[in-house]
């Protein structure tokens, strides 16, 4: 469904992505692991159209999306739940959800979907008039997911959804990921929490220093080795 080939992205002269290729299959959970600074967030922003790749191709259902604006990419059915959630802090929960449906024009469908989000995330319904900036970290994460779903994406990108959350909330977030996937949403997930991520992923990639260094199914590589590399990187792990 999503195919990234040989993508390079740079900040000024520093290349953060040095030719990344990977793919996420329809209906599955694909996970990207890697240490801090490996370029995972850069890759997510590049796919979502916030950053422009220097070269390479990004295809969504066979259609090239590299170089399109983020607005066009959202319209084509790709939504990103960003690192640190980035909800609209001064807008209410309800307004955040409405903003998530910015590209859609079907008012009735939008209202229906908001009701559906409230049913899936009852906490959001309780707090629908509250400003998003005043929600707890876990609630903000749910709001960020719900906001992304409001665009009716065919594929959902999630960047570190467990970041800064208490262990119990992390469990909840991952059970949401699983249940979304059961409902047919394709998910491409970036995580630091390798243990949790490997528990839900159908396929995973390992990224180090701007390159994909391993690809496989959970279980093939011993889990603790993956975890070690994901946290520490190959060099320090082997040193």
């Amino acid at each position: 469904m999503l195919q990234v080939s040989d993508v390079e992205t740079a900040y000024g002269k520093i290349k953060a992505l040095k030719g990344v290729s990977l793919s996420a299959a329809k209906g599955r959970i694909t996970c990207l692991l890697g240490p801090n600074g490996a370029g995972k967030t850069t890759l997510m922003y590049t796919i979502a159209g916030i950053l422009r790749p220097l070269r390479g191709s990004i295809r969504l259902d066979g259609q090239e999306i590299a170089g399109l604006t983020s607005a066009a990419i959202v319209s084509r059915g790709l939504a990103l739940v960003p690192e640190n959630r980035l909800v609209f802090p001064q807008m209410s929960v309800k307004e955040n959800l409405e903003a998530g449906a910015y590209r859609r024009k079907d008012a009735a469908g939008i209202a229906e979907d908001i009701a559906r989000m409230y049913a899936r995330f009852p906490r959001l319904q309780e707090r629908r008039e509250q400003l998003a900036g005043t929600l707890s970290g876990g609630e903000q994460q749910m709001l960020a997911v719900a906001r992304a779903l409001m665009s009716r994406p065919r594929i959902l990108l999630m960047d570190e959804p467990s970041l800064g959350l208490a262990p119990m909330i992390v469990e909840e977030v991952f059970s949401i990921i699983k249940s979304l996937n059961r409902d047919g949403v394709t998910i491409f997930l970036v995580e630091q929490n390798a243990h949790m991520a490997l528990g839900v992923a159908h396929h995973f990639y390992l990224m180090e220093q701007g390159r994909v260094t391993f690809s496989g199914e959970p279980g093939k590589l011993a889990e603790d080795e993956v975890i070690q590399r994901a946290y520490l990187g190959t060099r320090r792990a082997s040193a």
Partner: protein, 299 residues
């Protein structure tokens, strides 16, 4: 006591035009995190176009109003293309200084178009003030208040009932998140900028029509009044801009009555200084201080 009430009423009426000036300013600052110093001069460009047509063609007051708003929007487009769009998200100071450079251009162009310092401007309404008990209300000030309130209500509807308005509100709140939900950023910023200049043009028309004259000093005057009102209310906040404008109007009216025009300006600046030193976010602000610092770091 009667005088104080009368001053407050006068202040609210004059302040309604400051509120519009601040509203335009805050739309630009809120969405772009950029200070447009050429905002007042942009409005002046519209006002000069209106007065030029008025003097040359002897047209009525409503066509003049339309010309002022349209002229301000066109001048705004020039400012946006030259001073804001080329800079993207970086170089906030450079784009501010660039808007200052365009201010100089517009001011000189205005004096070249109409070399007299003072130029006549048509009145919106004329007639005897309405008296109610011991109080009286100038007709043009009442008209100013009515038009400003209607314009503010219209802006509220646009912001809360349209997709463009939703886009503007998301950009005011969090630019990156707005991009992520698919708001077309450049397009929305340009439209918001033009809307702001049109609102400013309307404010400029109301002020010039109540003074019945316009001078090349109007640009600087409008920039400083709009800035003070916006900063008193809180940067980038729409209700704050309106509150700030009304507060500035009332403060000025009271100070003018008590101490005269020089001390009036002294007090207006003094209030701004005190608000900034004591409540850095303005009366209805607060959150933006941290954000401002983030912007500062990008410069």
């Amino acid at each position: 006591m009667i005088d104080i009430i009368q001053n407050t009423v006068d202040g609210v009426m004059i302040g309604s035009s400051y509120a519009l000036l601040a509203l335009g300013f805050t739309l630009i600052f809120g969405t772009m995190r950029r200070l447009n110093l050429a905002y007042g001069p942009t409005i002046m460009a519209g006002a000069y176009l209106g007065t030029y047509a008025f003097l040359a063609l002897d047209i009525g007051v409503l066509p003049v109003a339309l010309l002022v708003v349209a002229g301000a929007a066109v001048a705004g487009l020039y400012v946006e293309r030259l001073c804001f769009r080329p800079f993207g998200e970086g170089a906030a100071i450079a784009s501010m200084i660039s808007s200052f450079a365009v201010w100089m251009q517009i001011e000189e162009a205005a004096s070249l178009a109409l070399p007299h310092h003072l130029n006549a401007f048509p009145r919106l309404v004329s007639g005897q003030p309405i008296t109610v008990g011991p109080f009286f209300f100038r007709l043009d000030h009442l008209a100013m208040l009515a038009v400003a309130a209607a314009a503010a209500a219209l802006v509220h509807v646009v912001l809360h009932r349209t997709r463009f308005g939703l886009g503007v509100r998301t950009l005011i709140d969090h630019r990156r998140a707005a991009e992520l939900v698919g708001v077309p950023v450049t397009h929305t910023l340009t439209l918001a900028f033009l809307l702001a200049c049109a609102i400013g043009g309307l404010a400029g028309f109301l002020i010039a029509a109540s003074e019945a004259q316009i001078t090349p000093m109007f640009g600087m005057w409008a920039t400083t009044k709009g800035l003070i009102a916006m900063m008193i209310g809180g940067l980038g906040s729409v209700p704050g801009a309106i509150m700030g404008g009304l507060a500035l109007g009332v403060i000025e009216a009271q100070a003018q009555w008590l101490f005269g025009p020089q001390v009036r300006d002294l007090i207006a600046w003094g209030v701004l200084f005190a608000v900034l030193a004591l409540w850095p976010g303005g009366l209805l602000g607060g959150r933006q201080v941290a954000e401002q610092q983030a912007v500062q770091r990008r410069v």
